[in-house]
Symmetry: C2
Subunit: 345 residues, 2 copies
């Protein structure tokens, strides 16, 4: 509508012409570290500011064969976990001068995976971070494609495997801490509500529960455990079922806080006193858990840090690659912490 609306992009040529130098000189001024006389530098800089010139990262990416952009593939952004992780990724990427090209996958469709990877590569991302839980065999595609992807790929929340770079919370250790805490409180009959056991994280948490109890000479069979799907609704069901099976249980370790919330709700409804009759420990430490009643003892995992570490690792790999050094595929573990609140005192 407005005729001044026709804002053409200002290019390096425009600047060069206005400053009476070659584009190469402008490029030198913009990128520092090259011979330019102080006088010329000033003149060019003045013009750059006046015209409001900003170099096209796009053009630069093309010639330099790197984009200073990381691809991030998320799975279920709508859940709070991935988005907190993404926050860490975003922060660290910003700090290290990278932008994020994002793709959210709603369901794990193998066909879409190739498509997504290709679309990221077509935009020259320098590395890829995969923010997706390991479920069943959904990681197998990696082994198959690993050799074909020309940039470093890192996996979050995946079981550590030699040769595959990953960063994950130590879910096993978290569970061990939770159970140890309950044992320290004198509990002996500790049930478990697990997540969907095809998820690696659910499996690890369950394994921590089982191993710790058995090491203490206590019961921990599948009989003392029921399975939910992470949702509060499923937690309610799983708890009812567990209570039937294991009526004299004196504590329950719930694989996430959402499910623990409905456990608390049910205990209230059934008149079970928490923590006197039944201690409850969750996992994740979502913001609300401090305000459940009773407030929830839980395992806090630092998802922000998880995301940051992921970026750190990928960027290191990118740098190695750039210097033609071999890439060392590391697997990092982030230790969770125990947060003791009313539900287990």
């Amino acid at each position: 509508m407005n005729s001044t609306d026709v804002r053409k992009r200002i290019t390096i040529k425009d600047v060069a012409q206005a400053a009476g130098v070659s584009t190469q000189t402008v490029s030198r001024v913009m990128n520092k570290f090259s011979y330019v006389s102080e006088e010329t530098r000033q003149r060019v800089e003045t013009v750059v500011n006046q015209m409001g010139y900003h170099p096209s990262t796009l053009a630069r990416s093309l010639i330099q064969q790197r984009s200073y952009t990381l691809g991030v593939v998320t799975f279920g952004l709508k859940y709070i976990g991935p988005s907190r992780t993404l926050n860490g990724v975003a922060d660290k990427a910003d700090e290290l001068g990278y932008m994020l090209l994002m793709k959210d996958l709603d369901n794990f469709n193998i066909n879409r995976i190739d498509e997504v990877i290709d679309s990221l590569l077509a935009r020259q991302v320098d590395g890829i971070i995969w923010v997706a839980p390991e479920i069943g065999e959904n990681h197998t595609w990696v082994e198959e494609r690993k050799e074909k992807i020309p940039v470093p790929v890192l996996f979050l929340a995946m079981r550590p495997r030699p040769g595959i770079p990953s960063v994950a919370t130590d879910n096993y250790q978290g569970a061990v801490m939770a159970i140890q805490h309950l044992l320290d409180c004198g509990r002996k009959k500790i049930g478990h509500i697990s997540g969907p056991i095809s998820w690696w994280e659910a499996e690890e948490r369950k394994r921590g529960w089982r191993d710790t109890l058995r090491a203490a000479g206590l019961d921990a069979s599948d009989y003392h455990c029921t399975e939910g799907n992470w949702s509060s609704a499923s937690g309610e069901q799983a708890f009812t079922q567990l209570l039937e099976r294991y009526p004299d249980m004196d504590a329950v370790f719930v694989a996430n806080d959402q499910m623990a919330l409905s456990v608390l709700r049910e205990t209230y409804r059934l008149g079970i006193r928490v923590p006197d009759q039944l201690a409850v420990v969750g996992f994740d430490n979502i913001a609300e858990s401090a305000y459940f009643h009773p407030s929830l003892t839980t395992i806090s995992q630092d998802l922000q840090l998880l995301g940051e570490q992921a970026v750190q690792s990928v960027v290191e790999m990118i740098q190695s690659m750039q210097q033609d050094q071999p890439i060392i595929a590391q697997s990092k573990f982030i230790q969770p912490t125990l947060v003791i609140r009313e539900s287990s005192l």
Copy 2:
């Protein structure tokens, strides 16, 4: 380490050579809609598949002056609200063939805003979506810069203003629904715990509360309202304070579910029966609210839809711009819905 690791990008030239045609012909095959003989098409396609060729979106963006990428600026990704919105944005963008270039701002720093916009523009984004709440005067920069940004910019969760495209939940209407519901239940003394009143959303919700009560000839002054900062911790304080001021209150409308959670917790601690003595209504309908006890009546806002609408609008604006049509700056409102649960029956 592995010598086959040196995976060079396959370019259109490689394909052209292998297929014995010009690059232009390959381009024609890739982009359809142009004269290519069936025979040539087949031959090229075979080579493309064999070599695993994927065109560089980067190079294409450069020549076509458009990237099929949207810039998304978020403010506080760590909160569940923005990330649910982002989910909607991601889905719709995917559906319409766009990728997302993301930047998260942790605090509202005017200097950084320019920098962020520039970095997005340097990467040729076709449009920008601003996923940030309107707080105080933080929108003023827009009016100043609007003319200088060569692509459509849309704002989420901002007060509708003529000439500035935006999409927002109708917070006022949501509050009206909440209060109307309480009135229908026979409540007459309805207090309010607001969000930080410098936030537009907090202001709107409060306004809906006030107007509806006054229209019904009931009390609604600042005396019947206290202010929190959205967090559960602040909700506890705000509730304690409100209860002192307004002891015979028979209902409270809390500006978000997190704060409502601690209100429920406090009522329990103080022996106030919900809903008999005090009805509670929240806002947002977070996943957990159905499992609070009592379960929370709340206003559900469809953040997913919000994000989708935003992308829809921006893409429409991009298309108008491409056809040199004037851009019509629309402001859309998304209607929230009332979810009745135990806390207000």
